[in-house]
C-alpha cells in the first residue's frame, strides 16, 4: 500500500516536471521574469473557437502548434511571464488541468496582482515583453478584447463573478489603445505559416549540431548549422537530411528509418518515428507520431499514425488519429482556384489560399484507401471508410462514414473503447474527465451530425 502511494506521488511529480518543461522551451532563454505580473490566457468564446474546430474541440487554441512550439509557448516566452493562469470552456477544464501546470478557470487569479489578459488567438510576434504601466485595452474590429494590461488597483474594481463579466467590464472602463494586434483566425492560418515559423523558432531556440546518433552512410545537404539532432535521436543509414531551404530539428528520441528524406524547414517531435517517409518541406510533427508516405507542409499535433504510403499535404491532424494505408488528401484544386472549407457543414469559407488540405480531429480513423477532398473538414472521433472517390468536404464528429454516407455506426461507446485502447498502447490513460469532455463534444456537434445522418438515410434508401 505504502509503495503504491509513493509510486503515485513519484508519477505525479514526473508529470508536473514534464508539463513545466513543456511550457518552458523558450522561457529559459528569455529575460529575467517579472514577479508581480500574471498572464491570463482566455479562450472561451465559441463563435471564435469554432474557426479552429475540429482541433479546438478538445484543447484551447493556444495548445495548437505552429513551427516548433505551441502558440502558448510563444506567447509566454514573448511576454516573459512565468505566472500564468487560463480560462478555457468549462467542459474541457478538467482534462486541461491534467495537461498543464497552469491554474485553470480559477477566478481568484484575477485579483492580487497586475494582469496581462490575452486572447489565445493573438500572434506572439506582435507583443512586447510585459512591463508595468497604466491600464489599457486592445480590441479587435468586432469589439473582442485581444489584450489588456490591468494594474492591481484597477483589477480590484472589476467584477469577479465570471471571467466574461470581468473582461466585458474591463472593455467598458479601461483606456482603449489604438494598437493593432494580429491574430490567428483559422486553423489553416497556422498550416500556411508553419514553414516560416519553423525557421523563426529554430533561430530563437539556438540549437544546432548532432547530439544524438547519425549512422552512416547518410547525406546532409545545406548548412550543417541548420540541422539539430537532439540527444537520444537515432538516424538510421540511408537517410537524406536536406537543410538547404530551411532548418531540420529532430527532437529527443526521434527515430528516422532508412530511405527517409527530410526537407527543411521541418520539426519532428519527441519520440516520433519516420518510416521511410518522403518528408517534404514545412512539416511540424508532434510527439510520439509514426509517419510514413509523403507529407508536405502539414502539422500533426501528436500521438497520431500515418504509418503507410499516401499523401498528406497542407493538413492539420489532431491527436490519436490513425490514417490507414494509402489515405490521401488533396491540397490543390484542378483549376488552381482558392480552396474553401466548410467548418459547420453549411457555409463555405474561402481560405484565400490555393493550397489547403484536410483538418482532421482527434481520435479519427480512416480505412485503407480513403481520399479526402481539398479543404476537407473531418471531425473528431469519426470513422471513415473508403468509397473509391473523394469523400464529402464536411464529415461531422462521431460520424461513421460507411458506404458513402454518414451514419451513426456503432456509436460513441465503440469509439471510446478504441480511444481507450489506442491511448493505452502509448502508455496514456483514458480518464473519466476525457469521457466527460468528449460527451460534451458529442452534444456540441450533434446538430451537424444529426442532419448528415438524416441525409445519409435518405441517400441509402435510394
Amino acid at each position: 500500500m505504502g509503495e503504491t502511494v509513493v509510486t503515485k506521488i513519484d508519477k505525479e511529480e514526473r508529470r508536473t516536471v514534464e508539463v513545466r518543461e513543456k511550457h518552458s522551451n523558450f522561457v529559459e532563454r528569455s529575460e529575467p521574469k517579472e514577479s508581480n505580473m500574471r498572464l491570463i490566457l482566455i479562450d472561451r468564446t465559441e463563435s471564435l473557437r469554432a474557426n479552429f474546430y475540429p482541433l479546438a474541440y478538445s484543447r484551447p487554441i493556444w495548445e495548437l502548434r505552429c513551427g516548433i512550439t505551441s502558440l502558448a509557448e510563444k506567447l509566454v516566452a514573448r511576454l516573459g511571464l512565468s505566472d500564468v493562469a487560463c480560462f478555457v470552456p468549462d467542459y474541457m477544464a478538467a482534462v486541461y488541468r491534467q495537461k498543464t501546470a497552469w491554474v485553470v478557470n480559477d477566478l481568484s487569479k484575477l485579483s492580487g496582482d497586475d494582469l496581462i489578459l490575452l486572447d489565445g488567438r493573438v500572434k506572439a510576434e506582435g507583443l512586447d515583453k510585459a512591463v508595468k504601466g497604466p491600464s489599457e485595452i486592445v480590441l479587435d474590429g468586432e469589439g473582442n478584447v485581444l489584450y489588456a494590461r490591468i494594474d492591481r488597483a484597477s483589477a480590484a474594481k472589476l467584477p469577479c463573478d465570471s471571467i466574461e463579466a470581468f473582461v466585458s467590464s474591463a472593455a467598458a472602463t479601461l483606456t482603449k489603445s489604438q494598437r493593432i494586434l494580429a491574430t490567428w483566425n483559422y486553423t489553416w492560418d497556422l498550416v500556411l505559416a508553419n514553414p516560416g515559423q519553423i525557421t523563426k523558432d529554430f533561430a530563437i531556440m539556438g540549437h544546432d549540431g548532432i547530439e544524438g546518433t547519425v549512422e552512416q552512410p547518410n547525406a546532409v545537404r545545406g548548412n550543417r548549422s541548420d540541422v539539430f539532432v537532439a540527444r537520444g535521436a537515432l538516424v538510421h543509414p540511408m537517410v537524406v537530411i536536406d537543410a538547404e531551404q530551411g532548418p531540420v530539428y529532430l527532437d529527443e528520441g526521434v527515430q528516422v528509418h532508412p530511405f527517409t528524406r527530410i526537407e527543411g524547414p521541418c520539426y519532428i517531435g519527441k519520440k516520433s518515428i519516420l518510416l521511410g517517409a518522403k518528408c517534404r518541406e514545412g512539416n511540424s510533427i508532434g510527439p510520439m507520431c509514426r509517419i510514413g508516405g509523403e507529407v508536405e507542409e502539414s502539422i500533426v499535433q501528436g500521438y497520431s499514425n500515418k504509418y503507410h504510403d499516401g499523401f498528406l499535404g497542407h493538413a492539420y491532424v489532431g491527436e490519436w488519429v490513425n490514417l490507414g494505408a494509402l489515405t490521401t488528401n488533396s491540397d490543390l484544386k484542378n483549376d488552381y482556384t482558392t480552396v474553401s472549407v466548410m467548418l459547420d457543414g453549411k457555409k463555405s469559407i474561402d481560405t484565400g489560399s490555393t493550397k489547403v488540405g484536410s483538418l482532421i480531429g482527434d481520435h479519427t480513423k480512416t480505412s485503407v484507401g480513403v481520399f479526402l477532398n481539398t479543404g476537407a473538414f473531418v471531425g473528431a472521433m469519426a470513422i471513415l471508410m473508403a468509397t473509391g472517390k473523394p469523400l464529402p468536404k464536411h464529415i461531422p464528429s462521431f460520424a461513421w462514414f460507411v458506404e458513402g454516407v454518414v451514419t451513426k455506426g456503432f456509436g460513441r461507446a465503440s469509439v471510446y473503447q478504441t480511444a481507450r485502447m489506442a491511448m493505452s498502447r502509448r502508455g496514456c490513460q483514458w480518464t473519466d474527465a476525457d469521457q466527460a469532455l468528449w460527451d460534451a463534444v458529442f452534444e456540441l456537434t450533434a446538430p451537424a451530425r444529426n442532419e448528415a445522418v438524416r441525409r445519409g438515410r435518405i441517400a441509402m434508401a435510394k
Binding site: V402, E403, G409, G456, A461
Partner: protein
C-alpha cells in the same frame, strides 16, 4: 399498412439482397442472414428511415434476431409516439 415484421423483412431483404420470403423471426442477422458489420450499420439506418424513429446505436446493434428487432422497434415506436400497424 404492413405489419412491423413485414416491414422489417422488406428492409432486411433490400439491404442484404435476399428474398424476403426466406426471412424468419428466429433468424440471426449475422449468422443466418450473413449481415456483416457494415451491413448492420446500414440496417439500423434503414430501420430508422422506414419507421421514422431514432434508435440508440448500442442497443439497436445488440439485437441479434429478426424477431428481436420486431420487439425492439415496436417498443421504440411506442416510446417515440410513432404509430404502427400490427
Amino acid at each position: 399498412m404492413a405489419t412491423i415484421e413485414e416491414r422489417i423483412k422488406q428492409v432486411t431483404a433490400r439491404v442484404l439482397k435476399i428474398d424476403p420470403s426466406e426471412i424468419r423471426p428466429e433468424h440471426s442477422f449475422a449468422v443466418d442472414l450473413g449481415a456483416e458489420s457494415v451491413q448492420s450499420i446500414e440496417l439500423v439506418a434503414m430501420f430508422e428511415k422506414e419507421f421514422g424513429i431514432e434508435m440508440e446505436e448500442d442497443a439497436a446493434l445488440s439485437v441479434e434476431t429478426v424477431g428481436g428487432a420486431v420487439d425492439f422497434i415496436r417498443n421504440v415506436c411506442k416510446m417515440q409516439g410513432v404509430k404502427t400497424e400490427g
